[in-house]
């Protein structure tokens, strides 16, 4: 199922950069078999396909296993506090429209502590990419239910399950105004790389939810590779139809699910006045 999710219109033979050019060489802290390795590989490949050099890309993350990712790549990066990556990332893009900005993180970081910022980042629709590695668990703190965890998942902190309806990030993103909403799978790094290259280029806020298994606390998620499949449908413009699509889905359809063309944040103006002009406003006409 490699490289079939989206046509990026790029011939890899002509790429200036190779995936390895985007690797820092640092060894990830992730457990052997973690899905995030596949996402890291996909980001390296996707950025190589995209074709801009590592110094023109900024990776911004919060806290959690997946948020360690910027240190593993050779790009500029910002590893901040838990949940606030999108606020940092959007403003880097606003003051530096010459750079490509990608925010990465996990389901706890993005949907729980950072949930409010997720909604408003979609509303602002700044031209950037947000990749969430969703394993439906807080891994770094050793296995607590996250907003996307199934209600009956048994764990120490919530014996018998948390009993809450899982958060649906795709429908929220579509409703809140994101311009590009897709789902990828860490076990398909080539397909995910294509989505990443496509999402970076799509104007406005692009959101890719990546199914990325946690083999340590959610070993049953290794079965996801049997459950994922390319989505039969993709919706352009119609947010109601796209919302219906993602709400009806079982959560394992991969590919671009929605693309919109809502205007992104306007660039800053060229200076029209000087500080001296402002200071004159305070001067008394004596």
């Amino acid at each position: 199922m490699s490289g079939t999710l989206v046509d990026t219109g790029h011939d890899e033979a002509h790429c200036v950069f190779a995936a390895k050019d985007f690797s820092s060489g640092a060894h990830p802290v992730w457990c052997p078999g973690c899905g995030d390795f596949g996402v890291l590989a996909a980001l390296e490949r996707g950025l190589a396909k995209h074709g801009r050099p590592p110094n023109e890309v900024v990776l911004v993350s919060g806290i959690g296993c997946s948020s360690r990712l910027p240190g593993y790549m050779s790009c500029f990066g910002f590893h901040g506090v838990h949940g606030r990556a999108l606020a940092v990332a959007a403003e880097i893009k606003l003051v530096r429209p010459d750079l490509d900005v990608i925010s990465v993180g996990g389901d706890g970081d993005g949907y729980s502590i950072g949930g409010n910022h997720f909604i408003h980042a979609c509303r602002r629709n700044v031209d950037m990419l947000y990749v969430v590695m969703d394993n439906r668990v807080y891994g770094m703190t050793k296995g607590q239910p996250s907003p996307t965890t199934e209600p009956d998942w048994n764990c120490d902190i919530a014996p018998g399950g948390i009993g809450l309806r899982p958060f649906n990030p795709l429908s929220v993103a579509i409703a809140a105004g994101a311009n590009y909403v897709a789902r990828g799978f860490s076990g398909d790094p080539n397909g995910l790389a294509d989505l990443i290259a496509d999402g970076i280029r799509w104007p406005g806020f692009a959101f890719i939810e990546v199914l990325s298994p946690c083999v340590t606390f959610r070993p049953e998620q290794t079965e996801w590779k049997k459950m994922v499949r390319p989505s039969a449908l993709s919706v352009d413009q119609d947010r109601a139809a796209a919302t219906a699509l993602v709400l009806a889905d079982d959560g394992f359809s991969l590919g671009v699910l929605f693309r919109g063309e809502r205007a992104s944040a306007a660039p800053a103006l060229k200076p029209q006045i000087s500080l001296a002009d402002i200071e004159r406003e305070f001067a008394l006409g004596v």
Partner: protein, 572 residues
């Protein structure tokens, strides 16, 4: 006999136009060449709460709120009970009120001030008609006061033209007519409130919040992330259109957590950035303040303090965020804390804050307060400005990988702009090695803690540490909005042959120990005056051994301002 100054209150229920009346008086007087100051007293309600403009006009520079008011003008008596206790009146106060508004309420009458009845409305009008027409009562009142103190019609007209600019000729004409009627009515009053002639010069009319914003712009701030919060909102509302026209940007965050992170993002991108808030928002920002320390990202945080804790009193002043500013954050998180020494000094302190943040690559907190921020005053613009300091973005070895957090003799290490080839680095809030990769070894942790501490240790504000006036053997030490009443107290004591000195801190952290020691040299008594219950500054100074154990503390909560007489009577 003419006078050199007058203190006037315009009071009314919210929406009656007390603040507008005060603004017209202040601007008309400033236009004529007087100094002046207007503080605002209001409650939490948007409409219909209590509201009073506290205006002083003087031939001399004026910074402190007065001990008492000479003139109290009631636009109505509806909400006066809610703030009467906060406005000092006495038997020499003249109270002007419309008999149709009802009897002078006991809370005001108990001052034994002389009441001057004056119809500001058509006596035949019903209450409904008065309410409908009420929007010009404030202009009648201010026209009357301007005439009483000797301001000319052209000064009043200039003030009205400025304040109502862009709101249509009809509105300006209607307001001018109201003021003219008031001026005409003043002639019938047997009151002599005339001021001495002013000494006009090129001056500015500015509020503390505007002055902080201007200083930040001068320092190079071109990005602001913020969230609405009283009493800081008018700062960012003034800033937003000006920033836009300067080619910058103000983003209204979804909360304060976002606001400060937005500022860090913009700063990381290379744009000097700031966030603006008050106590409750500042509390929310503390985690990211620690990130700015650890990741070494420049950012300016303005805290326009209000009464706390919790939501406290949103619209009223207090100096109770000292501990939060100096110590707030988990871990060892050294930062620089500044406080403007006056409304005029808000300009230079904010500009300086940007330079310190940029050059040291750390967060700089500016502690203002509601009293400084929402007071408008006439200033002589300072001739000097702080020396510009820039962020170090060049230098270092373009190694693979680049050592952003290199340990060496200079703790300030280059911070290349994203986009610079060969210098890719990750801003890191976890304990990190020289490259910026997370690390949990003891050696790495200590090395980076020491690096950041060294930046602070080497910071020398030189003559920006603060200021000292006078040379008596009693020293009053203060910061922010308590400096002005302390200086006024010192002036009065000096006039009675008892000179004291006033020592003002602009840099609260790290403490400028040598400068403080020089300023306090030879002082027999040291009195720390601050507007919070816990004596936060006093305990900090004692803890740092900046003052001796026998230093005295005058600490009380807000929101009432320190009056010069309160400080003078403690000293003697």
């Amino acid at each position: 006999m003419a006078r050199t100054s007058i203190a006037v209150v315009f009071a009314g229920s919210g929406g009656a136009g007390a603040m507008t009346a005060g603004a017209v008086l202040l601007r008309a007087a400033a236009h004529a060449g007087y100094y002046g100051l207007m503080a605002q007293l209001f409650g939490a309600q948007v409409r219909g709460g209590e509201s009073a403009a506290l205006v002083q006009i003087s031939t001399e520079p004026i910074e402190a709120q007065p001990d008492r008011y000479d003139l109290f003008v009631a636009l109505d008596w509806d909400k006066v009970e809610q703030f009467a206790a906060e406005i000092p009146l006495d038997e020499a106060t003249v109270i002007i009120a419309d008999p149709q508004a009802g009897a002078v309420p006991p809370s005001i009458a108990k001052s034994k001030g002389r009441t001057v009845p004056l119809s500001m409305n058509d006596p035949q009008a019903s209450k409904l008609e008065r309410d409908l027409r009420g929007r010009h009562v404030n202009m009648f009142a201010v026209g009357m006061v301007c005439a009483l103190i000797g301001l000319g019609a052209s000064d009043v007209q200039a003030a009205i033209d400025n304040i109502f600019a862009g709101r249509g000729k009809e509105l300006i004409a209607a307001n001018a007519k109201g003021a003219a009627l008031g001026a005409a009515a003043a002639a019938a009053l047997t009151l002599n409130l005339r001021l001495d002639a002013p000494r006009p010069a090129a001056r500015w009319l500015i509020s503390g919040n505007q002055a902080l914003a201007l200083g930040a712009l001068r320092g190079g701030v071109r990005f602001v992330g913020c969230y609405p919060i009283t009493p800081a909102t008018d700062l960012v509302e003034w800033l937003a259109p000006h920033l836009l026209k300067l080619g910058g940007r103000l983003v209204l965050g979804e909360d304060e957590l976002a606001s400060i992170n937005m500022a860090l993002g913009a700063s990381y991108g290379g744009t000097p950035a700031m966030t603006v808030t008050s106590g409750p928002g500042f509390s929310l920002m503390i985690e990211t303040l620690g990130l700015a320390v650890a990741a070494e990202i420049p950012v300016v945080l303005i805290d326009v303090m209000r009464a706390g804790p919790s939501t406290g009193i949103a619209s009223k002043t207090e100096q109770s965020d000292v501990n939060l500013a100096i110590y707030g954050a988990h871990g060892d998180a050294p930062r620089v804390v500044l406080a403007p020494m006056s409304i005029a000094d808000c300009i230079n302190t904010a500009e300086y804050a940007v330079y310190v943040a940029e050059s040291l690559q750390l967060p700089v907190i500016v502690l203002s307060d509601q009293s400084l921020g929402q007071t408008t005053t006439v200033i002589d613009p300072a001739a000097d400005r702080p020396k510009p300091l820039k962020r170090r973005i060049n230098g270092g070895q373009p190694d693979k990988p680049f050592k952003r957090y290199a340990i060496g003799s200079d703790p300030i290490t280059p911070m290349p702009l994203p986009g610079t080839p060969g210098y890719e680095w990750v801003a890191e809030g976890l304990t990190h090695n020289e490259v910026g990769l997370p690390a949990s070894g003891a050696g790495v942790h200590v090395a980076q803690i020491n690096k950041r501490a060294k930046k602070i240790r080497r910071f020398d504000p030189c003559n920006y540490w603060g200021a000292s006036w006078g040379n008596g053997d009693v020293a009053v030490l203060a910061f922010g909005s308590t400096i002005a009443p302390a200086r006024e107290a010192a002036r009065r004591l000096a006039a009675t042959g008892r000179p004291i000195r006033v020592v003002a801190l602009r840099v609260l952290s790290p403490l400028p120990m040598n400068s403080i020691a020089r300023a306090l040299n030879g002082a027999r008594r040291i009195i720390v005056v601050e507007q919070n219950h816990g004596a936060q500054l006093y305990h900090y100074l004692i803890g740092q051994k900046a003052i001796p154990p026998n230093a005295e503390s005058v600490a009380r909560p807000g929101p009432l301002p320190f009056r010069p007489s309160e400080i003078a009577s403690y000293v003697v």
